[in-house]
């Protein structure tokens, strides 16, 4: 937790605002970063990649609220992303609703589900909580794969474009989707920041630190925890919905435990407990994930001797190794490293502590 005196807060918000404006202008600019982006910033391929990165940043932010702020280690966050994506996809398929009402209906479903499942899972804490959330997500995964009639099974669900406004359809409109993803990121950020800074946010942080103490003070931890859980879930489902639009469909990978682990990896990469870290982590992860595949199949790698070629031609190997190195040598992730560079201090002890307590 930052302490009360937040003199630099305003500066941060201004920097953030400027970054958002720059990001919003990207589709109108012609900037190339060879090796990082597939093409100039106005091209659909690049915008698609950037939009994906923004979505992962939003998703990581929602998980940050759950894990970093409230200290709830969930292995089932993917479920709510999937509920958003599949929910909206199925509603659009099965009903005659247009996009906005369908979105509303899906949201209502997600809120109900998050509330019910959250109330159940929050009866346990620590690793048991992680396992119960994993169990629910796993059930979701099984249901999705077993019912191809509704969900498409392992082939995934295609977006029914009939009721989708035209400006979201087709490669030429990728930038509209990019702007949508950017807007979502801003919304998620504001909601998360708002909640964290509110009294409820402080209460939930205190609950993370010492639940018994919170109760002895006269607060019901369950309420604030559930609130954080539902907010994080709803935000994740919103990301899922935009992801459905962006990808024109969704696949069962969205429901898998692997996917939750991916989000966890992102948050750790960025730095647990840091909003900016979650965003940076989401963007860097997506770029790495998408671009390493390109690197792996490049000619440069092909020419290497087997002992180098085999590992380097596996993107996940590089990503996994990188991740290990970050955890080992960059405690506090990217955000922590930046903070240390800028202030010259070593890692604040509470950051580590928090990781331990969450166990």
């Amino acid at each position: 937790m930052k302490s009360l005196s937040k003199l630099s807060q305003r500066t941060w918000w201004i920097v953030g605002g400027v970054l958002v404006v720059i990001a919003a202008l990207l589709p109108l600019l012609n900037i190339s970063i060879p090796g990082v982006l597939p093409g100039a910033t106005y091209t659909p391929g690049t915008l698609q990649l950037l939009a994906l990165a923004l979505l992962f940043a939003s998703l990581a932010l929602s998980y940050h609220l759950l894990f970093g702020t409230a200290g709830m280690l969930s292995f089932g966050h993917a479920l709510y992303f999937a509920l958003g994506a599949y929910g909206l996809g199925i509603v659009l398929h099965e009903t005659e609703l247009t996009l906005l009402p369908a979105l509303g209906l899906t949201l209502a479903i997600v809120i109900t589900a998050a509330y019910l499942l959250g109330s159940l899972s929050l009866r346990v804490t620590g690793i048991s909580f992680a396992m119960v959330t994993l169990a629910f997500a796993q059930a979701g995964n099984v249901l999705v794969r077993r019912n191809p009639g509704i969900t498409g099974g392992e082939e995934g669900l295609r977006l029914d474009t009939e009721h989708i406004p035209d400006f979201f359809i087709g490669v030429v409109n990728t930038r509209n989707l990019y702007w949508l993803a950017l807007a979502l990121l801003v919304v998620v950020f504001v909601v998360v920041a708002w909640f964290e800074n509110s009294r409820a946010g402080h209460a939930v942080t205190a609950t993370r630190e010492n639940e018994l103490r919170v109760r002895v003070l006269g607060l019901r931890p369950f309420g604030v925890k559930l609130m954080a859980f539902v907010i994080a879930s709803v935000l994740a489902s919103l990301v899922g919905m935009v992801h459905l639009l962006l990808q024109s469909g969704t696949t069962p990978r969205a429901t898998s435990a692997d996917f939750t682990l991916t989000i966890l990896v992102i948050v750790v990469l960025g730095g647990v407990g840091s909003r900016w870290g979650a965003i940076v982590g989401g963007i860097i992860y997506t770029l790495l994930d998408q671009r390493l595949t390109a690197l792996a199949s490049s000619d440069a790698i092909d020419g290497l001797p087997a002992i180098l070629r085999i590992p380097l031609s596996e993107p996940l190997f590089i990503l996994g190794t990188l991740f290990i190195l970050v955890v080992l040598f960059l405690p506090g992730g990217i955000a922590g490293a930046v903070q240390r560079l800028s202030t010259g201090t070593s890692l604040a002890p509470q950051k580590r502590q928090r990781l331990e307590e969450a166990e």
């Binding site: 402080h202 942080t205 018994l212 103490r213 109760r215 002895v216 003070l217 006269g218």
Partner: protein, 251 residues
Amino acid sequence: MSNQPVLTVEHLALTIGGAVIIDDVSLSIAQGEMLGVIGPNGAGKTTLFNLISGVMTPTGGVVTLEGRDVTNQSIDARARAGLGRTFQTSSLFPALSALENVRLAAQVKLGGATSVIHFPRAHDKATTIARARLDEVGLSHHSETEAGVLSHGDKRKLEIAMLLATDPSVILLDEPMAGVASGDVAGLTEVIRQVHQSGRTVLMVEHHMDVVLGLVDRVAVMHHGQLLACDTPDAVMADEAVQKAYLGAPL
């Protein structure tokens, strides 16, 4: 000091896996009274506090707070009903600053601690109260320090500051002086005395006999989970059984 009992326990009992921890304890504490609880280590003093505050559930008996049966109420419900306590082993929010620790407590008292539309401010009422409480226990200079890195004695003081900030009407203090520097004992004793004199009911477990004897109206002596005696300090100190079980030969 009126004679209206504000807190009573009747036939309180706790057994864990066959071990009798609390054995048929009945006590009645009057409004505004200050009760010392003493007894050998493991006598069940902390457990008694745990049962009263709801941290543990008794296997028998009734706890009444201001005339209402709270035996089956949750910890937080009892806290909202005006019961406050400290812990024998300091229990804090280690990653929050000392001020934030206390401010949260003050916030609960003021209401709206879980509001999502209100934000803590540097000069709001809760913060003002929190600063005052920290000052009272002599921790002002540590208000921005993370609670987790405070020294042992300072954590004890922070516990008390948090308790005061919730402004409870009934206070349970579990060994407030343990680990407090001998030079600070007098000051802290004074804080407790003032809290008591402002009309609050106080129960205090403490092994520092001079502190206990100087403050309390009555002393309850526990031994092997039972209430051995409950009387004025003088009478209790004169009791041979108490001397044998608890005090030993005076130093």
